[in-house]
Amino acid sequence: MMTHVVMYFHVHQPHRLRQYSVFDIGNGTEYFDKKLNKEIFLRAARKCYFPSNRLLLDLIEKYEGKFKVSFSITGTWIEQAQEFEPELIQSFQDLVKTGHVDLLDETYYHSLAYLISEEEFKEQVKMHRKLFKELFNYKPKVFRNTEAMYSNDIARTVKDLGYKGIVAEGWHSYLGWRSPNYVYQAKGSKIKLFLRNYKLSDDISFRFSTPYWEEFPLTADKYAAWLAASPGEVINLFMDYETFGEHQWKETGIFDFMRHLPEHVLAYEHLDFVGINELIKMKAVDEIDVPYYSSWADMDRDLSAWLGNEMQKTAFNKLKALESYVKRARDIKLKEAWRRLQTSDHIYYMCTKWWSDGDIHKYFSEHVESPYYAFMNFMNVLQDLEGKLMAKIIPRESEYGEIPTSL
């Protein structure tokens, strides 16, 4: 009986906002900080993307198909790569060409679009699909929603879009006594559910370089032994790609760990690596019922990292309220700006859950001084965007004798 190891990496960078003061509203100031985004992107390219891609390509070639990985790559990442470091696109294309890399679809903007409207969600998924078709000539069969946000309803919508599988957190509140190490089926729709083994995933992505962790330092052979000892049919190791070189610096030995992991895993006869598409063929052992939203974030595995406080709810509701304006304004540039603002990171920066003690959120949002600044900045931008949308709507609709309902 084989246990399949799935290594799936999520690749993402948001379009960060510039410091947008209340005095900038209505002044035609650019929303996004190209200089900052370029700086962060190039640093991540140097520290993570280039060396990690190189390493994975080497491993795939070395193990002649016995080592496979899977990726999801956001539209906002691809836009920035095309602008700042086009060679990275080539590098991912080379990986995909090996035939040992599976790709997953998601919302183009790494957004909470599902909470805005089903229409907006579907449009963003289709945009992402189109992007992958063009860049990689690839049609993903598995879907990952932003931050592994999941519910029965999301599964049904994703199934309707034609996907065969979807990713979620392997969380005990809906798993109960069951193990994440099997393929399941979503409740209410015939779509396979692939659950992240968060313990084994976080051993790499969070704990790897933590000196006070009892298992420190983590070596490839020790980790492979843990995998080998894990009962079940599949072990889903899902993590941010930036784990390699960005969150865990090169100096921690993360690349050496990864370089040696395949040989130690493959030394066990009952372990192999598969791409995530392989899991679709496997039999679902049970049905999982998630009637509420879950995610892979924080200790709470819910939406509280994005919609946990009053600022976040205010900002998100404002963003959501702009949907009808965006539709009526019919302006491609403004629509794009609105969608870039939907990227979940912007609202994540406003999280105050652990702000008072300093926390994990911090290093994802280093450029923002505080959740309060993040909120104010975002709201100032939304105010400006609203003004611009209105300026488009009013002259056009009054031509036809329509009065904008929101005024």
Partner: protein
């Protein structure tokens, strides 16, 4: 226990703090299981209460004000009322008499003598404090009658207790001090009414008006805020040698209608001012600590504070700004005015953060420091 409270006013008939006090007190007393009979002069407006038995005495009084011209009329009404009061209250049974200020002391003392029940006289104000240069002897005599015959006196502050002892010669051993509660909402309404603030947002500066406190930066920031946000008033509480200069600066900036100079604010009044403000600003050029920041945060007021202050190390849920960066200061004030959800979030988190900064903890830390110094 049944208390006979001899009062003066009750909602909706209220002319001052006494009515507020009696309303809040009787409400709480009855909630705590004390039977209250609240007696007051009958007036034009009918008084209603569902938590306390209200007895209105008399044909419908109009007391007028006690200036010299109307003194005779006023005195007459008081005497009439006190006579009726005694008669009426003899129909009631009670364990203790609680008389609210001099207007009812005459009747209170007579009731005590007739019934033998203990008398508590409550000192809300005394004539010597109202008109120190020219006290009306009629009122002073009523006060003396009440306080000399009382079994117990409740003074609303130690300051009041001192005055009772020094000015009226009351035995200090029978005086207990019970402060009045602050009814923040009422204070705010009254303050807004008196200062014509309407529903303006309020931005507060509280501190001495010295160069190192940076009040001039506060005004410069105010100017920028006003350009974007009209419905706001800037309060400057405190005095100092910069006052004339600041008044001129406000005029020169064209924002004199947006700035109010409140003068000196006594220590015990400070929390009320924090609480009515939407933003507290500490623009200090240099500030070793800045205890006002913690006071404001404790009152739930979001703060914009100078980076040059010790307090900025302690509170994370605050906006911090270089004192000279007036644009930024204005931007942050504006943010808090424009986005109430952010102000509320900052207020909530700020309060949580400073919970551990109690004087008890500070004393413990200091003792630790002593021990370190003594024992190494």
């Amino acid at each position: 226990m049944r208390v006979l409270i001899l009062g003066w006013e009750f909602p909706p008939y209220i002319t001052g703090g006494l009515g507020v006090y009696c309303y809040e007190l009787t409400k709480q007393l009855s909630a705590k299981g004390i039977d209250v009979i609240y007696v007051l002069p009958k007036r034009m407006k009918k008084v209603r209460s569902d938590f306390v038995k209200v007895v209105e005495v008399g044909p419908g009084f109009e007391f007028g004000s006690y200036n010299e011209k109307e003194a005779m009329v006023f005195k007459g009404s008081i005497e009439d009322y006190n006579n009726l009061l005694v008669k009426r209250c003899l129909h009631e049974s009670f364990d203790v008499i609680h008389a609210q200020d001099w207007m009812v002391f005459d009747a209170a003392v007579r009731l005590k003598k007739i019934t033998g029940k203990p008398l508590i006289c409550h000192a809300h104000a005394i004539e010597y404090m109202r008109t120190p240069h020219d006290p009306w002897s009629y009122i002073v005599e009523k006060e003396k009658t009440g306080y000399y015959n009382a079994d117990l006196i409740i003074a609303n502050s130690y300051y009041m207790k001192r005055n009772l002892v020094e000015k009226l010669g009351v035995d200090p051993r029978k005086i207990v001090v019970i402060y009045n509660a602050v009814d923040q909402e009422r204070f705010e309404q009254q303050f807004r009414r008196e200062h014509g603030l309407g529903n303006s947002k309020i931005v507060l500066y509280l501190g001495r008006l010295f160069v190192q406190k940076g009040p001039d930066y506060f005004l410069n920031a105010a100017k920028k805020v006003v350009e974007r946000f009209r419905n706001v008033k800037f309060l400057i509480a405190g005095t100092g040698d910069m006052l004339p200069q600041l008044i001129k600066q406000a005029i020169d900036l064209g924002i004199s209608d947006k700035v109010m100079f409140l003068g000196f604010v006594p220590e015990e009044e400070k929390p009320k001012y924090y609480a009515i403000s939407d933003v507290y600003v500490l623009p200090s050029v240099s500030e070793p600590f800045g205890i006002t920041v913690l006071e404001a945060v404790a009152a739930g007021t979001p703060v914009v504070i100078s980076k040059e202050s010790g307090a900025s190390e302690v509170v994370r849920s605050a906006f911090k700004v270089d004192f000279w960066d007036v644009n930024k200061m204005a931007e942050l004030i504006l943010g808090l005015l424009m986005y109430p959800p952010m102000a509320r979030e900052m207020s909530r988190n700020g309060k949580k953060e400073i919970k551990h900064l109690t004087w008890d903890k500070i004393a413990e830390e200091t003792i630790k420091a002593y021990k370190m110094a003594v024992y190494g």
